[in-house]
């Protein structure tokens, strides 16, 4: 795929919408791309906000680690066919170590009997390794305890991805980039769109936005029996965009798969994680969908038109993660007559016990799963304002953040002790203590960013 002015359509499929996505999703997408016989690319989005911080921690203990650990499971089913059919793969599975991911991919290619691949690596998102201490001080949110800092990564755009593809990369590995850039990059390389043709960049960005969450535009995360039925959800297909040189595009899904693509699934995903629809900020463009229209042109084919674009922002967003204590959680179930009353008594017992501890825990949260949990706020106002519905099978959950692991263990021990010291008939205690990663965001002037790419 050279930096050409190819006016023929480009197909872009998505093989993963997050790190936990299905490993067998990309196969039918690639089958479909091959069957169409057109220029095509395949993207994988596997890097959530805090996934990168976890990867950075892994890299600290093992310098060769720090990329998506299930990279091979995602790519092994499709790599040989993509290489054979000239379908480049673009993924942010590099996480904290894109070069490490590239090495792992070469190893995978060798195991599959493929020759050495041309793998592009995009770097420069990691501010902790690219910025001087003085510049870091200028851009990082304050006050921030520098010793707890784990990661600071800026969202890069599509340009370096496009340049890798223009130089013949068969795979492009990135760390943090704006998710839609994984799709916009191959469009820039294919169509040769100018980097200030804002309407085209915005169309490509919104196409990438619809692709980046995988099945979420194909009936995944959509089904509601009787209201919004989705056929064969267990085999939900992953999406494919057919982009025209004009910026008009159709969104569809893998052939012979479950799920559905219709105006409703596309509208839900179009607005997903959007704030002002007239100003969706990305590193490449400010996209405007306030006049966008979606039309069902055939079963499982929706055309999207009318995306507008405006000049890109002067600063780039960065996500900063830092270590912030522990999360302690303990749960126990009560069922049958007076289940809710016993669960409420158990909550009262734990509350009193936590106050009696050598290091008291005062701001724990109490959920009555089965009666009220996720709609409620941490402060307990929802529970105070809404009477709990009758419930004969309820699970008490106690959760708190603590500064130390020892304090977290105190909380889980108090829930465990309900077995013998709490109300009648409690069962099924489970507890969990997890290190907590907090994050914040900041904005970095473009002049401080040193984006670079290479092919190995």
């Amino acid at each position: 795929m050279a930096h050409s002015k190819d006016s023929r359509p480009l197909l872009i499929g998505c093989g993963a919408g997050f790190a936990g996505d299905r490993w067998d999703a990309a196969g039918p997408v690639v089958d479909t791309l091959i069957a169409r016989g057109r220029s095509a690319a395949l993207m994988f989005e596997t890097l959530a906000e805090r996934t990168l911080a976890l990867a950075q921690l892994k890299k600290r203990s093992d310098p060769e680690a720090g990329y998506e650990p299930t990279l091979a499971q995602f790519l092994a089913p499709v790599l040989a066919r993509c290489v054979a059919h000239g379908i480049p793969i673009i993924g942010n599975f590099g996480a904290a170590n894109p070069r490490g991911a590239a090495l792992a991919l070469q190893e995978l290619a060798r195991r599959l009997g493929l020759g050495p691949l041309r793998i592009g690596v995009v770097e420069g998102d990691d501010l902790l390794s690219t910025l001087s201490a003085a510049d870091l001080d200028r851009v990082l949110p304050s006050p921030l305890d520098r010793s707890s800092l784990v990661s600071a990564n800026v969202y890069l755009g599509a340009s370096a991805i496009a340049q890798c593809l223009g130089a013949g990369a068969q795979i492009v590995v990135t760390g943090r980039v704006a998710d839609p850039a994984l799709a916009l990059g191959p469009m820039l390389a294919h169509f040769g769109w100018a980097e200030d043709d804002w309407d085209l960049l915005a169309s490509g960005t919104m196409a990438g936005h619809l692709l980046e969450c995988g099945a979420q535009v194909c009936g995944g995360y959509f089904a509601d029996p009787g209201l919004k039925d989705v056929p064969d959800l267990a085999r939900v297909g992953f999406p494919i965009v057919e982009m025209q040189a004009s910026g008009s595009f159709v969104i569809t899904k893998a052939d012979h798969s479950g799920g559905r693509v219709d105006a409703r699934t596309v509208k839900e995903q179009l607005l997903y994680e959007i704030h002002d629809p007239a100003a969706y900020l990305t590193p490449d463009v400010v996209a405007d969908i306030s006049e966008t229209q979606v039309d069902e042109i055939a079963p499982n084919r929706v055309r999207v038109v009318g995306v507008r674009g405006h000049g890109r922002p002067d600063t780039l967003k960065a996500t900063v993660c830092f270590e912030g204590g522990w999360l302690a959680e303990g749960e126990i179930s009560y069922a049958g007559p007076s289940a809710l009353a016993r669960a409420q008594l158990a909550a009262q017992v734990v509350r009193e016990r936590l106050a009696l501890l050598p290091e008291p825990v005062s701001d724990a949260r109490y959920d009555f799963i089965g009666a009220a949990s996720v709609f409620a706020d941490d402060g307990g106002r929802w529970l105070a304002e809404h009477p709990l519905p009758p419930c004969s099978d309820v699970r008490l959950r106690v959760a708190a953040r603590t500064a130390t692991r020892a304090q977290a263990e105190q909380l889980t021990r108090e829930v465990l002790a309900l077995y013998t010291c709490g109300p009648a008939g409690g069962g099924g205690v489970r507890s969990q203590i997890t290190p907590h990663l907090a994050s914040d965001s900041c904005y970095v002037p473009r002049a401080l960013i040193s984006e670079r790419w290479s092919i190995g």
Partner: protein, 120 residues
Amino acid sequence: MKPTPVRVPLYRLAHGRTGDKGNRSNISVIAFDPRAWELLLAQVTEERVAELFAARRPSRVTRYLLPKLQAMNFVLDDILDGGVNGSLNLDAHGKTLSCLLLSLPVTVDAALAQELELTP
């Protein structure tokens, strides 16, 4: 007998999805049928949504309109107890909150209810 209006939860007329960024939530409300759009405009207001989410103390509720999609996008600031970074909620992202918004009661006049084949 005079036909009476029908009171139904919003999910009978609209669908939606929640997204989150930090401590901010966005929830779309999308009409199933274009004929319900005017009703949504009149009844699914910033004030009513702020009231529904009052326990979470939103610092601001903004409704953006996308009439060509018969959709609105609510942006609720500071409702996630810190969101995925700080909340103790099992659903720290607030992903379930679209279903709270879709439980909002709305009143459909008799003629429209008949057109949309809505029963109480």
